[in-house]
């Protein structure tokens, strides 16, 4: 089950994710994120996909298939997040360090 943590920059997504899941989110390349147990700054991963002229939406579908138990943290900037949220078991919006469960 994918657990997604989203919110504004600096709101403490990674800290809360680590506290709740016991997994420390790591900064990844797009390839690493396909198998990393806990991904930090997912918006920067999608930025790399865009820089390579790839599709963030297709990439998000790939993550859902190849890394189905991932913890994913990122800034709430749209892009491929809706696809991830649709496939995630839980979605937590983090505001000022406080988690608001909006799915699951």
């Amino acid at each position: 089950m994918i657990r997604l943590y989203i919110g504004g920059a600096g709101h403490g997504q990674a800290e809360l994710a680590e506290k709740e899941t016991g997994k420390k989110p790591m900064q990844c390349t797009p390839d690493e994120a396909l198998k990393c147990p806990a991904i930090d700054n997912f918006h920067l991963v999608t930025k790399q996909i865009l820089a390579q002229e790839g599709s963030p939406q297709e990439y998000a579908r790939k993550i859902l298939k190849s890394n189905p138990d991932a913890v994913i943290c990122g800034d709430e900037i749209g892009c491929a997040l809706c696809i991830l949220a649709e496939g995630a078991g839980t979605v937590t919006r983090v505001i000022c360090g406080i988690g608001q469960r909006i799915k699951g």
Partner: protein, 181 residues
């Protein structure tokens, strides 16, 4: 009681904060953090003065430093921390070299030391801040440092206040705790 209020620019934070202050009651004090440096600032201050007119607030101007504030059981509304943090970090009086300017831990410590007595004063304290980190953009190192400091201070206040709320289009969305009805 301590209350933290955040939200985007123009989301209705001020009016909501004033209504909470009035509900908490007692002698009302408004602490204004904004220095008036331009016509635009003056217009904003005048708009806020008009918003508060007739609501019973005594206004204290504290641009740059939250010092010499009353501690006698008043309900105090402090607005706005986003301005206060900017005043502190970018004031010519506090001029720093680049490394010191972007030393997030330094500013965080300074602000937490300054804000701690306000979290434990006699009477209610309402902190108004702002949400500035939802645009997904990356800015200059100085601005990124400012955003990091402000979001850290916001998290610190949410952690330490009795109640916290995000105002969205004038509607309060609860973050934690219970507000007065």
């Amino acid at each position: 009681m301590t209350v933290f209020i955040t939200g985007g620019s123009g989301s209705g934070k001020s009016a909501f904060a004033e209504s909470i202050a009035q509900k908490l009651g007692g002698s009302l004090v408004y602490v204004a953090t904004m220095p008036v440096a331009s016509g635009e600032d003056k217009a904003k201050v005048e708009r806020h003065h008009a918003l508060r007119a007739g609501k019973g607030f005594v206004t204290l101007e504290r641009p740059g430093k939250l010092a010499d504030l009353p501690d006698g059981g008043e309900t105090m509304l402090i607005e706005c921390l986003s301005t206060h943090v900017a005043n502190l970090m970018f004031s010519p009086d506090n001029a720093q070299d680049d490394a010191a300017q972007n030393n997030i831990a330094h500013w965080e410590e300074l602000l937490k030391t300054e804000l701690t007595p306000l979290l434990h004063r006699n009477g209610n304290t309402i902190f108004v801040s702002a949400e500035i980190a939802l645009d997904g953009a990356t800015y200059s190192p100085e601005t990124e440092a400012y955003r990091s400091v402000l979001t850290a201070i916001n998290r610190h206040l949410v952690d330490n206040c009795d109640a916290a709320v995000e105002v969205v289009c004038g509607i309060p969305a609860r973050i934690k705790g219970e507000l007065p009805c």
